[in-house]
Symmetry: C2
Subunit: 481 residues, 2 copies
Amino acid sequence: MRPLTPADLNPAILNVQYAVRGELAIKADELTEKLRSQEHQGKLPFKRVINSNIGNPQQKGLDQPPITFTRQVAALMEYPPLVDIVKDKWPVDVIARAQELQAEIGSVGAYSHSKGIPLIRKHVAQFIAERDGYPSDPEDIFLTAGASAGVALLLNTLITPHKTGILIPIPQYPLYTATLAQFNGVPLPYHLSEPDGWKTSLDEIRTALKQAETDGKGITPRALVVINPGNPTGALLDQKTMEELVWLCEEHSLVLLADEVYQANLHRPTEHPFHSFKQIVRRLNSPIPLVSFHSISKGVFGECGRRGGYFECCNVPVEIRALLYKMVSVGLCPPLSGQVGVDCLVRPPREGEPSHALWKKETDTIHAALAHRTQLMAARLNALPGVSCVNAPGALYLYPRLELPQGAVDAAHKLGKEADTLYALELLEETGICVVPGSGFGQKEGEHHYRLTCLCPGVEEYVGMLEKFHLGFLKKYGINS
Amino acid sequence: MRPLTPADLNPAILNVQYAVRGELAIKADELTEKLRSQEHQGKLPFKRVINSNIGNPQQKGLDQPPITFTRQVAALMEYPPLVDIVKDKWPVDVIARAQELQAEIGSVGAYSHSKGIPLIRKHVAQFIAERDGYPSDPEDIFLTAGASAGVALLLNTLITPHKTGILIPIPQYPLYTATLAQFNGVPLPYHLSEPDGWKTSLDEIRTALKQAETDGKGITPRALVVINPGNPTGALLDQKTMEELVWLCEEHSLVLLADEVYQANLHRPTEHPFHSFKQIVRRLNSPIPLVSFHSISKGVFGECGRRGGYFECCNVPVEIRALLYKMVSVGLCPPLSGQVGVDCLVRPPREGEPSHALWKKETDTIHAALAHRTQLMAARLNALPGVSCVNAPGALYLYPRLELPQGAVDAAHKLGKEADTLYALELLEETGICVVPGSGFGQKEGEHHYRLTCLCPGVEEYVGMLEKFHLGFLKKYGINS
């Protein structure tokens, strides 16, 4: 027996990087274990690890409460005889919703249609039509195990290995670079403009296309990825830019992959509203193939653990939609608990229904808390020397830029690391706060950033720890001249 | 804008075939829709479609009941305040289990560790250790969204595109050929021996290896897939064959991928018991890397819709386990409802606990019904002219062989189809029973089979429809001379 080594494996797998759950997250897990063990009791300079590396609102310690309506429906789906016990205790719209879904689905223990339960796809289409003012066809909807599963399916389908280029924003959510590496796609990065609040620049995209055309490697650009609201940036696209992006896709025959999972996370919606690409494409009557992704993990719903989401195909030829159906059928079906979650996301209690008041109170509270924390954290971070931070109008994150002392850059390079990785590692070790360094999302040579979530309750104490650490770090490595 | 066509896509995706949800299943969906619509009312020769194409015990019409213990725990996980309402109504072990899991997990709406909740992985390891009599390390356990997700991950990791060969049984569950096509792996098929009850033949595997070695295509065999109990065959491996397979993997430096999802579906366990490959590998003290897959979708649990399962790595080097962890982290985590399901599968109520009696009654009933149906269907099918059928000792299926009239073969070829596909299509159109033709699983040239599940209640009526159709088909196309 010759031993199995990494050299025996798919080289593409070795190239995959995913910083959100990379070195920092693994270190955070080790520290969490240490805090639990007797041996290290009291020996660490903090009492708990705060996982600000990942948008996971309901995790322990953050404890964003789930929406009551959703969970009561879910409990009834799990155990239908429960209705006899709760029928006089729970709102009638909860009971009615569960019974409607049970009549359609039967048991949540059965595989569903591979694209998802037809009735729920119909409800998604109604939600989209109401949002955009343009019709949506349930046959164009695929329910998925979170948006990530949908993105992976589309990239796998669109990429001919080593030949297909995919335009991705920098910085980007590293799902995209990871999945491109996995399927041997060629990333065609375009930079967002930090001085303009991380605005998407058409010129940058044109430059990336030109480079792919002229570098002689024979790469065919096939798709443009846009994340709106942005991750990690929180930026929102204005309608003019969106129109230009659609025209650019027309001009270059690109599929538009619109990651719109943060569409409900808007902190200043009057000033920075959300428009879906579906609406823009339909309004312009554009023929570009568009696939837009949504999720139950974000928004104020935050149901990450259910693994639910959907994508909508628009202008995708029927024979290609059939290929996507074939591929999802190999995986059998998305989790039923996620599918039921999608139904509750797209059909929340309406005004006048018994669950509406509580639903409104719960969702308003979470929206307000997120907007408040984002605002406060951005202001306080911006007040620190060597930190500048776009006050994100959307999503769940801030992405501050760091001017780090040369001493820190040198110290990091000695360890074979980027300076923002060193910063994040020391932040974790001193405060228990886990963030993701900018190198995980992509940034210009010599720049430093990190992404942190705006999910932590007790924001004053939390931002206080960030401030104290930052000032100590500057002192330790010497203020930049 | 140049339109997007299938020719623009990943050629590997175009090559994927998955018969379990292929032509027959799509046709069955259309018929189900027709039965629902007013227009076709009474115009079809059957009242309902029976989806015998897929092992989906809890689907509507089959309605295998879920295990009460599992569902009560799941309902409490979804809505923890429910405990106040049910605490005097539900068994104390249900409440205790839910509270133990809640204390560990927090909310089922949060992402978990990407390999799955540590406590549940510990319980899986205990289950394996108890089953096999050899220890299991929770760090070697990965919880997954059903066994399929685990198989896809392992194949993606092990396959260098166009260079890696994977030994697969014929007939096989088409997940394997579909996933090999998706990742450009090279199938190295080995035939199971139908006259010996679908026994696994070492000679066939050696022949397949020899062929890969000598055909000049430079394919490196990397892994051996074994499905035990078999799908679609239901065959169980004896220990001697298992030992020989382990030695063969040693000799050829192969990773053993053991699909053991039907390990609890044993119809005659005294005569045909299940032994895990983990036990054999440990007993032989073999160094071969083994990855074994299990699922909550099969057995008598039948919780397909939750998408839960796990794989255990044995003798897999730590750095390769770390690569697998990196890859699952890109997908964030398996669905929490599936993870909670895994906990209930591996830790059912024990004797003496309040839920045990009901759990035992429920599981005994399902086991007995499956064994009875399998036995009865095999006997009745074997009594038909031109049908022979191994009386499967395990899994959920029968895989009868058909001797079809030349007239049927000719008629099928005129339609560009295999004769067993024609048989399955006509069976569906006449009776509403959907099965999968043998061409979907692989068979020798000129042979014909189909796979059907043994899940349908009302087995007498069901098998009566199969008999009537079969005799009519023989008559229609002329009995073979």
